[in-house]
């Protein structure tokens, strides 16, 4: 193997093994930031040694054992400064060659969960949670995260350093939340993963309408979480939602890179492997029973679209009912805008418009461009072209996405008349 080939192999091993190594180390050294640095050191050691020695048969165990020996050195050096370190170093020493700690056994699942809940801890800002989750659990490098979010690498590095510092300063315990706290903390985890997905699915910045790599990263994180928490229906709901939405990635972009909306998409271009996986995940969520949460409901809506072979076959009545249910568990004017769309299709544009106009009086939606594009669409169906054109223009002025703006301008132009 050439050096660069080995390097790429080590990158791949890092992606596969680093979350487990960091998760286990963080429990042993009781410090997520230190754990990440130790794992990073082990990775550097691999870069130095593997091109010569070859990639070990069990690279995860190699990284773990290297990081652990390094941990003992670092902690010994610090022990005069801090008694906590002395204690940890002693524990580590006695377990240094315990094979069960090198082999990722059943307990690694709990360590991974601890890492998940720490990276998505509410003491951190959303941006910090996203960066830390991609770094620690997704195995992405700082450069990769920066590229994905179109920000300078230094910004991401800074964000991660600050996040680790906050975790240490606020003494966030390395544990899985229990009892009633679990539900709210899980909400934060699901939100982080879905934020990552959405940045890929409907990019808020830049010229591209979609960034599939981020969608794949989010899907992977979601699937990891499902393996760790198989009994949580909302986890399966989130995966179902992401798999089904991701199935439309190719169809959402036209030949010129322009946005293509759901009902205009060529459904033959939908990815049926992902649809099938999404429907299986939704089924799993439903089997777990209980009241359907927001992700399960959103996945059910996505599934309605996925099951319809043509846009005309869409079960809008069911979709309107699901949006109503979603509005009950997660009230939001945005959900109501979508319910208006569904009602417009199921009953008629006048009914949809009625709901939209009620929403319009609520000022919260002032800068929300879909309100205007939906209103424009309903007005156009009712033949009120001039008003519709105005709404599309307003919506175009409000979106930050180039590709979407072009789509809205096009719709406005189509209504310009002869």
């Amino acid at each position: 193997m050439t050096v660069s080939e080995t390097q790429r192999t080590i990158d791949a091993v890092w992606r596969i093994e680093s979350p487990k190594v960091i998760a286990r180390l963080a429990r042993l050294v009781r410090d997520v930031g230190l754990a990440e640095e130790l794992a990073q050191d082990a990775f550097v050691a691999a870069l130095e040694q593997w091109p010569e020695s070859g990639v070990p048969v069990n690279p995860g165990a190699w990284l773990m054992s290297t990081a652990k020996h390094r941990a003992i050195d670092v902690l010994r050096r610090n022990e005069r400064r801090d008694r906590k370190y002395a204690e940890v170093a002693r524990d580590l020493d006695t377990s240094a060659d315990d094979p069960s700690e090198l082999d990722f056994d059943d307990e690694i699942g709990d360590d991974m969960l601890r890492l998940v809940f720490t990276a998505c801890h509410p003491v951190l800002s959303r941006e910090a949670r996203v960066a830390l989750t991609l770094r620690l659990l997704g195995g992405l490098t700082t450069a990769e995260i920066a590229r994905a979010y179109l920000v300078p690498e230094a910004t991401v590095a800074q964000r991660i350093v600050r996040a680790k510092r906050t975790i240490a300063r606020k003494q966030v315990p390395y544990e899985i939340p229990q009892g009633p706290e679990l539900a709210t903390r899980l909400t934060s985890v699901l939100e982080v993963i879905y934020l990552i997905f959405n940045e890929g699915y409907a990019a808020t910045a830049g010229d591209d309408w979609v960034r599939p790599d981020l969608c794949e990263d989010a899907l992977r994180l979601g699937r990891v979480l499902a393996g760790l928490m198989p009994k949580e229906s909302e986890v399966h709901g989130l995966i179902a939602l992401m798999e089904i939405q991701a199935s439309r990635l190719a169809a959402r972009v036209g030949p010129e890179g322009e946005a293509v909306l759901l009902l205009d998409q060529d459904r033959r271009r939908w990815d049926h492997l992902l649809i099938r996986r999404g429907l299986v995940a939704l089924d799993r969520a439903e089997r777990l029973g209980g009241q359907a949460g927001p992700y399960v409901l959103q996945a059910s809506i996505a599934a309605c679209h996925a099951r319809a072979r043509t846009a005309e076959e869409t079960d809008w009545t069911r979709i309107a009912a699901l949006y109503w249910a979603l509005g009950q568990v997660a009230p939001s004017p945005i959900v109501e805008v979508n319910r208006a769309v569904a009602l417009g299709k199921a009953v008629g544009p006048a009914v949809g418009l009625e709901l939209i106009d009620q929403l319009r009086s609520a000022a919260v939606l002032d800068g929300y461009h879909p309100l205007h594009s939906v209103r424009g669409d309903l007005l156009a169906q009712l033949g009120r072209d001039a008003e519709a054109r105005q709404e599309f223009e307003t919506a175009a002025g409000l979106t930050d996405n180039e590709s979407e703006r072009a789509l809205l301008r096009r719709r406005a132009a189509e209504l310009a008349g002869p």
Binding site: T9, E216, L221, G227, P255, L273, R277
Partner: protein, 120 residues
């Protein structure tokens, strides 16, 4: 990126895969699922019941199994999502390693092409 791991039929012990191999294989598949990598996998039924079709400039020939060259016969596949070809290879290597010393097998890793921009 997606890759297809095509697993060719190999040669091993006369009494087929050992219990240990099956357990290890199950564990690897579970690892791949838990890592969020494995999208789809299946084994193919015996090639003896399969058929080969050959098109030769307008002449169709259908040949029923079994066929001579077992090494070229695909016995199963796995579709995985990976960040790079090297990552796909790393998973494929793990698949090979669980077979231990008793087997000789071949597998092929191929990237699945993204759907073309436009197709009719």
């Amino acid at each position: 990126m997606r890759f297809m791991l095509m697993l060719k039929e190999g040669t091993g012990p006369a009494d087929g895969p050992s219990q240990e191999l099956m357990t290890e294989m199950g564990k690897l598949m579970e690892d791949m699922t838990k890592a969020g990598v494995l999208l789809d996998t299946a084994g193919l039924a015996s090639v003896d019941d399969g058929a080969r079709l050959h098109w030769d400039h307008g002449k169709l020939n259908v040949l029923d199994g079994p066929f001579a060259e077992a090494k070229e016969v695909v016995g199963g596949y796995a579709i995985i999502q990976a960040k790079s070809k090297e990552e796909a290879l790393e998973w494929a290597k793990r698949f090979m390693r669980v077979h231990g010393e008793d087997w000789e097998i071949t597998s092929e890793v191929r990237q699945i092409e993204e759907p073309p921009e436009e197709w009719v």
